[in-house]
Symmetry: C2
Subunit: 214 residues, 2 copies
């Protein structure tokens, strides 16, 4: 398999964790989001990923986009170890937390949106950082309520084994810390993050461990 990735992309980070959890080896193909006006917008790359986003996973003839679709594909084609529980209600719980991050936080705080705020709308650095903080804190507050009260939470979001929810949570916390959000205010989120980061599959997927890390 080949993974088109950028070391700091949260979406690519999710897929790297999934590949590691499944013990799948892959070639790492860096796509630099800032260099040359954004390599993800090159015509050649957009043949693989029409939206001009990372990641893209190539598995034989299959060219796959969107991190959560890629992770569900890996789960279906390589079921062990599982990244989703067996019971449909528990699966919905795990997916809901993954989607809360993937739909309610990450889209608002990614590079192209922050750029639009500054370059098109003329926002100050301070207003941009306020925007960033607002959406992270808004989501982490309700997520903390949920994770600190749901009996399914263990060392990780669902018991002690990694699921799709942890794959989304860890990159988002990493990203928040990079933007100087005090994640200690969310003790359950912080505890899950700390535990996950100590696991080999997560550690090897971390931005700083990638070949294109700066």
């Amino acid at each position: 398999m080949k993974l088109y990735s950028y070391f700091r992309s949260s979406a690519a980070y999710r897929v790297r964790i999934a590949l590691n959890l499944k013990n799948l080896s892959y070639d790492y193909l860096p796509v630099h989001l800032l260099r040359s006006g954004g390599e993800q917008l090159n015509a050649d790359y957009r043949k693989l990923n029409p939206d001009g986003l990372v990641p893209t996973l190539v598995d034989g003839d299959a060219v796959l986009q969107q991190s959560l679709a890629i992770i569900e594909y890996l789960e279906e084609t390589h079921p062990n170890p599982p990244m989703l529980p067996r019971d449909p209600i528990d699966r919905a719980y795990v997916r809901a937390i993954a989607l809360q991050i993937a739909c309610e936080v990450h889209p608002l705080d990614n590079l192209r949106v922050l750029r639009y705020l500054v370059h098109e709308l003329g926002l100050s650095e301070e207003a941009k950082n306020g925007w960033y903080r607002h959406w992270i804190e808004n989501a982490f507050e309700s997520l903390e309520v949920r994770l600190s009260t749901d009996p399914r939470v263990g060392k990780l979001v669902f018991g002690d084994e990694p699921t799709l929810a942890d794959l989304c949570l860890v990159p988002q916390v990493f990203n928040a810390q990079r933007f100087k959000i005090d994640t200690q205010r969310y003790p359950t989120i912080q505890r899950i993050y700390d535990h996950a980061c100590g696991l080999d599959a997560f550690a090897r997927a971390a931005p700083g461990a990638q070949p294109d890390a700066e």
Copy 2:
């Protein structure tokens, strides 16, 4: 089952289509997003949905959030008729298109984000509409390229039967038209939308057909 819904919410609209496709009857519980400072933010509702978002589906003891997690749950618990293809590569294609809309467009153009732009950042109505248009057009342009070239496209996104991708596409096109986007510029998207809207499950899920429609 009970569905907490708002007639104009794209996310609730997706779930209504899914319930109709699966021939599942449900009680419709309206949550008015604009009235009384937003009924979705009430303490009682947030016990069901900590993020204060619609939809929420209650199925017996299970309380489920996030539209795509709910739809995957319905697919797992009521497999027929299917809303996902059988082949993992095709499933990834359908999910990628659903997620492109659910992660790259809808989060940027929903009510609370548009409000933040106006109330917190002081954007003019014109700048807000420009933002809205930008993210819709950006996504629809690459989606049109994809849907006009992928051999899997039929009357709908995957062949002629409704899938998760159509469930996301139709509410987004409806929403775009409400904001005066000329969707005729995307002929394949428009053709799929027109066909889907003629199907009973989609027609009964439309905002105008809901008990809380205004």
